[in-house]
Symmetry: C2
Subunit: 90 residues, 2 copies
DNA sequence: TCGAAGTGCTACGGAATTCGTAGCGATGGC
DNA sequence: GCCATCGCTACGAATTCCGTAGCACTTCGA
């Protein structure tokens, strides 16, 4: 499952998450991701771009149509995670 | 987002995926995950157990109730990924 | 009672990945 | 000229992951 390989890399999910609904510059995206090292951010962006989830526009990095759909899926997952977390905390 | 940290680790998503609907022994699970190194598998299992997604029963490793729900979310994601992949391949 | 085979799991050395910091070349105001 | 910002890279240290071997334990048939 190629998607698991891609998403199962450090910061991959987070990068997608931060770009959901936003268009961020490399540096802004880096800041949004807890000042991740630029080396790794660039690697993740390259991978996500090759998969067609992310693109670099004039305004900065943004999700493509596919990326937005994936972001929606992640939103569902996050909504579930929120409930799960609240259940855990009690 | 604690879930991103947990799932954004190598093999974490894959382990959950392989356990979806199955109860597997440590070794069987290892085999299912392309013979991942037992060191890493054990780390992931420990993390997933601490989060309450996975438990070790008499029959082997299995998803908990929470883990099953997460697995369902992953199934949705996978269904989407399948369509996405087919679109890509053309 | 003695293997033999299966269980979960650890040790350990080397390879791959990630991190943190510094900085490059380009571009755009002022 | 000067400064700020842009995407991005270099590089050494820290962390993580891999692959192999094997330990302690249980079960089971002979």
């Amino acid at each position: 499952m190629i998607l698991w390989d891609a998403l199962g890399r450090r910061w991959a999910l987070r990068v997608l998450w931060e770009l959901r609904g936003n268009t961020l510059s490399f540096r802004a995206l880096r800041a949004a991701c807890d000042d991740i090292s630029p080396t790794v951010l660039n690697s993740r962006l390259r991978e996500l771009r090759e998969l067609g989830f992310v693109e670099l526009t004039d305004e900065g990095y943004a999700l493509t149509k596919d990326g937005s759909e994936l972001g929606d899926q992640l939103l569902r997952l996050t909504r579930w995670a929120k409930r799960w977390h609240e259940r855990r905390e009690g």
